[in-house]
Amino acid sequence: MTTAETPAAPRHPRLEEPGQGGGLRDVFRHRYLLSLLVRKEVRVRYQGTVFGFAWSYVKPLVRFLVYFLVIGLVFGIVRRVPNFAVHIVAGMAMVHYFTETFGSATKSVIKNRALVRKIYLPREMFPVASLLVSAVNIVPGLVILFGAAVLTGWYFEWVMIPAALLGFAIITAFGMAVGLLFSALNVYYRDFSKVVEILTMLTFWSCPMIYSFDRISDLFFADPDLRWAGELYLANPLAISVMLFQRAFWVPTVANDPTVDQTQVTLAPDLYTRGLIILAVSVLLVFVAQKVFTRLEPSFAEQL
């Protein structure tokens, strides 16, 4: 370490090409900067508000109330899905982790164009920071989920740990892959952020959150001719991740309840195997996305 009064005499390092990114590994080397970027985003979010971080609980609570009242009570789903409240909240945690990551990562490079155009940093830094910020932002949702589950008779089983971790890992890897990919594409054509908005809208309906998997099972898995549609549904990382979270937080609250019709407590067949396969594919996608990013990144500064 040096101080300003006695600066280190310059070394004589080797000549190197500046701006040669080392990809995600380089981001890890800059983890101090990464932590500052994440802290900045988290801190700035509720700056200037009197209630501060408390606001982060309001949004998921209101969202939950709307789903519960309109979809649960008005549409009458509560009769079809036991402990519907926890069923949605478990889904919401994963769905919003993903949509927030996807949306903010896609815009992350453009948002930081002032930096991208002036100073060389590993540009993967920006989507990675978005992912981490989103991960921090789901904490209130998780607290609400845990509280709701405990209030409705949740108990601890060992299986919840791998289930919840696998669900979280899938979204993290898949979110990283699509975040990297779209953040780079969006620099070239802003149309991609519109595509992301539409995909985000679809995400919401593509998971067993406001309806139960029981319905999908009846529709697609009962009929051998429609099985392909069921398999397609289960190829969605979001759907699997949501069900893994439901396995961890929702199933314990309903599985041993004699008043519950157990046929309504249905999750995807071979949930863990599917989860592991999807995680492996998602990790592979991260490598592919990194390749694309590395290809597009050298001309970011001139495109912005």
Binding site: A4, P10, R14, L36, V44, A114, R117, Y120
Partner: protein
């Protein structure tokens, strides 16, 4: 002496997209006009800089100065040829690019210094010197959006000059703050140079280059037109260059 910057046969071409929307593309094609155009921002530029030299990069607007600076800093890559630099690069490139208005001066120092590649320990060690240099004093824990524009620029400058580097880039950013602060900036940059850092200064200002640089490069429409003393550069640019308008930054 070791080589600090080596630029070999570097060219950089920019593409201009004439039609950005599908509708415009269709009309362009219908009128048999091209969809894209391109021009050379840099055309076969080569030079070498020794460690510890101070170079003034000059030329008119649009001559390719900023592009060359961006290639040296690694923000852009050349289309052909190679740019190589020895050691860490820091500099005054649009002072305060990484500042966030809602963070305090102190938080912004951490953020900006980390962007310039400093570690937490390094920043902790230099914090006092940076705050001192910026003359921010008791406002250091105030949010930056309440700063005057002078304070904002001083803070940005203070962080940049405290970055540990071998190559220091200055993009016409010298004219910050009031006259005393400008003098302080120039002194500090000279000090960085005296300590053996390579200085790469982009400027319109012949007096400034003559004062601070031992060598000047002049770019003319993307080509290296002159590589010589600041005097030569001023002679080359004289006639077309009106010193009286831009000559009084110091």
């Amino acid at each position: 002496m070791a080589t600090s910057i080596r630029v070999e046969h570097v060219s950089k071409q920019f593409t201009l997209r004439h039609a950005k929307t599908l509708r415009r593309m269709v009309t362009q094609v219908a009128h048999r006009k091209p969809l894209k155009g391109s021009y050379y921002a840099l055309d076969d530029v080569s030079f070498e800089v020794e460690q510890g030299q101070s170079i003034g990069l000059m030329g008119h607007n649009g001559s390719g100065k900023s592009t060359l600076l961006k290639l040296v800093s690694g923000v852009m890559r050349p289309d052909s040829g190679s740019v190589r630099v020895a050691g860490r690069i820091a500099g005054l490139l649009e002072v305060g690019a990484g500042f966030h208005p809602d963070l305090s001066g102190r938080d912004n120092i951490y953020l900006n210094a980390a962007i310039l590649g400093m570690s937490q320990a390094e920043i902790d060690g230099k914090m006092e010197a940076i705050v001192d240099f910026a003359q921010i004093g008791r406002f250091i824990d105030t949010e930056v959006r309440h700063y005057s524009s002078g304070m904002f620029m001083r803070l940005g400058f203070a962080v940049s000059v405290h970055a540990d580097c071998e190559v220091f880039l200055v993009d016409e950013g010298l004219a910050v703050g009031d006259a005393p602060f400008k003098r302080k900036c120039v002194r500090k940059i000279k000090e960085l140079h005296d300590e053996g850092r390579t200085l790469f200064l982009v400027s319109h200002n012949i007096k400034q280059v003559a004062k601070m640089c031992d060598r000047a490069l002049v770019l003319d429409q993307g080509r290296l037109a002159l590589d010589g003393s600041p005097d030569d550069a001023s002679k080359y640019l004289a006639g077309e260059y009106d010193e009286d308008i831009e000559g009084d930054d110091f």
